[in-house]
């Protein structure tokens, strides 16, 4: 029995509306409700970036919400997956080219799963999240690989800390 394979059964989602019309947002809310009940898959709407695995973004990114979007993404610890919900989050949709819109979410943060539709149906959102789980598992493995590599590197003395780097830079500058 491989314990690691159970990890993907616990995706905690974070939802951010980057400037959409609320249509997809209420469908995400409907996903939590008894008819669709995404808690079956172990999902919780945490509302806290530091404890989330999956970022659900809806809406085209407006100028004022772009920095918040990037900041939320940066606050989430790896491994993390981004799902863009709806046509306008994926490409800008009908809002593409409007003066205060920047277009799709993938202009700012890497998107792993695109969910289509205007507005997305709850079934589509659930399908998107389930697809994201496989990506999440892959990313977890990659992260573990990189941690392993880093550990070996430390052993061989290649890893430099900040002071070493500063020491190396000084002679070059002077």
């Amino acid at each position: 029995m491989n314990l690691a394979s159970y990890r993907k059964k616990s995706p905690w989602i974070l939802h951010y509306n980057a400037g959409g019309c609320n249509g997809c947002d209420i469908e995400i809310l409907a996903c939590l409700a008894p008819k669709y009940d995404i808690e079956r898959f172990g999902m919780i709407n945490t509302g806290n970036p530091k404890q989330s695995d999956i970022l659900l973004v809806t809406g085209p990114v407006t100028k004022r919400s772009r920095e918040r979007l990037v900041e939320i993404y940066a606050q989430m610890p790896e491994p993390k997956v981004v799902i863009s919900c709806g046509a306008c989050a994926s490409t800008g949709g009908v809002f593409r080219g409007m003066y205060n819109c920047e277009g799709g979410v993938d202009q700012f943060i890497p998107v792993d799963v695109y969910v289509c539709g205007c507005g997305t149906r709850p079934e589509q959102i659930i399908d998107g999240v389930v697809q994201a789980l496989a990506i999440l598992e892959k990313k977890t493995k990659e992260l573990e690989e990189s941690v392993k590599l880093k550990r070996e590197a430390v052993k061989e003395g290649h890893q430099l800390n900040r002071r070493h780097i500063a020491d190396e830079i000084k002679p070059v500058l002077s």
Binding site: K63, R64, Y99, N100
Partner: protein, 113 residues
Amino acid sequence: MKKIETNLADLKKDIGAFYKPELHHFIVMNAVQTGEKMELQWFFSDYAFPCETTCFYALISPGEEVPSIKDIVASAWVAEAELVDLMNIKVESTAKGFVLEPDFESGPLLKKK
């Protein structure tokens, strides 16, 4: 829709004489470009049936400062702040930046020549 013409100097007096909080409510403030000049509109509506929408309008030339009706209609600040950003109008004691980010060009709704 009933349209009443006014000008910037008489604006506060006209609206102050017309507006009764228990009879009317303020809807929104709007601006339309008509050639060189800009037509500013203030929309009011009755509470009664059948209700009538009343529109005060004034023509202004670019760069003119518009008096604020905040002391007559307390909720007008939202509409005024929006027009300041979107139409690049100067309104008395209203700063920019409520709608748009500071780095964005002001007056995106103005027709480009």
